[in-house]
């Protein structure tokens, strides 16, 4: 087990290295000259050359790559072109809303999606099943921001029970925080619910066809007992896998949702950075999100052994 975790950890190194090299090349090989962006529109050639020298951009590409990589490993992501601040502190300032949104969305999505998927599978072909399946196709088809605006229109404009936009920090009181996070979480949860409910249904359906389920029923267990003791534990692995893969959707959705709800998180920072062509910030955000994504899926891989004793490493 320990050896397996270690092996998996080591195997993420080349993946992250490729992400890092890709992110590095994006800026250095792309059509934009970072020195020219920093210098601004009114700079002359000498000033640009001077900045280029300061940043080490006149050195060979490979040297630059190693300098950049070693800085990152020391936690130095450089300085933002646009905000003129250290990228690390920029991200640290913005992490709370994003983290809160992601966590609330995940909880909400799992709590809604798993029961929906289970009910759909247990009542296969019924109205509920069709509704759940219909919803899951629809959930994949509506852009996140449209869902956001529809929810704002219903719950903040027609029936003004929740704030239209904005974010309230946890430190400023729990109730305003919850009120400000409900609509964004709900918005972002839709596609995640669609994904998880669909997988739960498929996975539970498959397990329900097994012999031991029939045996369990024959032993006189109630459907609920069969579900909790036999069906769900055996259906858990694919469900948990898709929750992990869905994190990519979640991260993409965060960027959009934060823009719709004017939440000052990393998603908004991403859009601002792209609009300002603030490459150090873009690089750091991609690295951060990719790292989180890879790590969550690593944790999920490792958790299989807890979910399913048949899986041994």
């Amino acid at each position: 087990m320990f050896g397996y975790v270690l092996r998996r950890l080591v195997s993420t190194i080349p993946v992250m290295l490729i992400v890092a090299v890709f992110v590095f090349l994006m800026l250095r090989v792309g059509p934009h000259d970072p020195a020219a962006i920093i210098a601004g529109d009114n700079a002359n050639a000498d000033q640009i050359a001077q900045i280029r020298q300061q940043l080490g951009l006149d050195k060979p590409l490979l040297t630059q790559l190693f300098v950049w990589l070693s800085a990152i490993l020391h936690g130095d992501f450089g300085e933002s072109f646009f905000f003129k601040k250290k990228v690390v502190s920029l991200i640290a300032d913005r992490i709370e809303p994003t983290l809160a949104l992601a966590i609330c969305t995940s909880i909400l999505a799992v709590v809604i999606a798993v029961p929906l998927g289970v009910v759909a599978a247990m009542r296969r072909g019924s109205m509920v099943d069709r509704l759940v399946m219909g919803f899951s196709v629809l959930g994949f088809s509506v852009p996140v921001f449209v869902i956001g605006y529809v929810l704002i229109y219903i719950f903040a404009i027609k029936f003004p029970i929740l704030p239209v936009q904005g974010y309230s920090r946890i430190a400023d009181g729990f109730e305003p925080f919850i009120r400000s996070i409900i609509l964004p979480s709900l918005t972002l949860a839709v596609v995640y619910v669609a994904l998880i409910a669909r997988m739960t249904r498929t996975s539970v359906l498959e397990v329900l066809g097994e012999d031991y389920i029939r045996t369990a029923y024959a032993r006189g267990l109630t459907p609920l007992q069969v579900l909790v003791r036999h069906a769900l534990p055996n259906a858990a692995v694919p469900i948990v896998t898709v929750i992990g893969l869905g994190v990519a959707l979640l991260i993409g959705g965060v960027v959009v949702t934060e823009s719709v709800f004017a939440i000052p998180g990393i998603g908004r920072l991403t859009v601002d950075a792209v609009l300002a062509r603030d490459f150090p910030t873009i690089q750091a955000i991609i690295l951060l999100f990719s790292f989180i994504y890879v790590m969550i899926n690593l944790i999920i891989d490792v958790s299989y052994t807890l979910l399913d004793p048949r899986i041994r490493y």
Binding site: V15, F22, V137, S141, P143, G252, V255, V256, S259, S290
Partner: protein
């Protein structure tokens, strides 16, 4: 023993024979809707539209159904009904929505073609040329570790906003998924005895790939391309909405919504109409993809 590659593909394609397909509403209805959308896109100028980029400061933020005037090409004014209202710059939303169909369909089709073409080439190389497999797949793993929308947003920042940049930015994150699919098909097919027979008979590798391996990739690729198309239409609207996609004056559904954001509370129709259009379009493509997957490749059914 499996049947020869071509026969098998023709069989699975033959399952889509016209008369049996016509019985399946999950294929007929979305296809019909998409066909109508294609016709709308082509016939946009003749559907009672005016110039979708025409600004008219005198008719800003009008509600749907407003009867006003519009400037004709010769400079004279003519009465005009704004079925979907106007946006904050006085542009006719109906015309913009109708013309916007073009961008969405073009982006969907182009991204599906580009990512499938590149994914197919890279995937065949990875699956068939043994020494390249490890290298290519590690590269693809790295690319897949970056959340797709984030990667697309970052990629558009590299060049000037435009249709080509948007198509490339959306295609790149999709390529690794196609590569994986093609590679897995190639890996299973290359062990078949008819492939070994072809090698023994001295078939040159390119011919072998095209004649024996490629036909096996067709069915799963069609299904995959459909889903790529659906997701591309969504991502395009997201990029435009965030202001990093196609230039804002170009009528695209995402751009109409981006323009309507500011006045959403008062004039929700700015977001409503293009939002419905996107949802219907993507829904049709997704339903079509699901139906084709069930028909062409029952093995894929279990995948989400």
């Amino acid at each position: 023993m499996r049947e020869p590659a071509q026969t098998q593909t023709f069989r699975s394609l033959a399952r889509l024979r016209v008369h049996s397909v016509l019985k399946e509403p999950a294929i007929v209805i979305p296809s019909a809707v998409l066909l109508v959308l294609v016709l709308i896109a082509i016939a946009a100028p003749w559907l009672g539209t005016i110039d979708p980029t025409l600004l008219d400061p005198t008719q800003r933020n009008k509600l749907p159904g407003f009867v006003g005037t519009t400037l004709l090409a010769d400079g004279s004014k003519a009465p005009f009904t704004f079925h979907f209202g106007t946006d904050s710059l006085g542009r006719d939303i109906y015309s913009r929505v109708i013309y916007g169909t073009r961008i969405s369909l073009i982006v969907g089709a182009l991204v599906a073609s580009v990512s499938t073409a590149f994914g197919l080439m890279i995937g065949m190389v990875a699956g068939y040329v043994r020494w390249s497999d490890g290298l290519i797949m590690r590269l693809m793993d790295g690319l897949m570790a970056i959340p797709p929308i984030l990667l697309a947003i970052a990629l558009v920042s590299l060049s000037r906003a435009g249709l080509a940049a948007v198509v490339i930015a959306i295609s790149i994150p999709e390529i690794p998924r196609v590569v994986r699919l093609v590679r897995s098909v190639v890996l299973s097919i290359r062990e078949e005895s008819y492939v070994e027979a072809a090698i023994t008979a001295g078939t040159p590798t390119p011919l072998l790939l095209v004649r024996h391996i490629l036909p096996n990739c067709v069915a799963p690729l069609i299904v995959q391309a459909t889903f790529v198309c659906a997701s591309a239409i969504l991502v395009e609207s997201i990029l435009s909405f965030l202001g990093v996609g196609i230039p804002p004056e170009t009528p695209s559904w995402g751009n109409i919504m981006a323009a309507g954001r500011q006045y959403f509370r008062l004039f929700p129709h700015n977001i409503l109409y293009p939002g419905i259009c996107i949802a219907v379009t993507v829904l049709c493509v997704n339903i079509l993809g699901d139906a084709m997957r069930d028909r062409l490749d029952p093995k894929l059914r279990k995948r989400v």
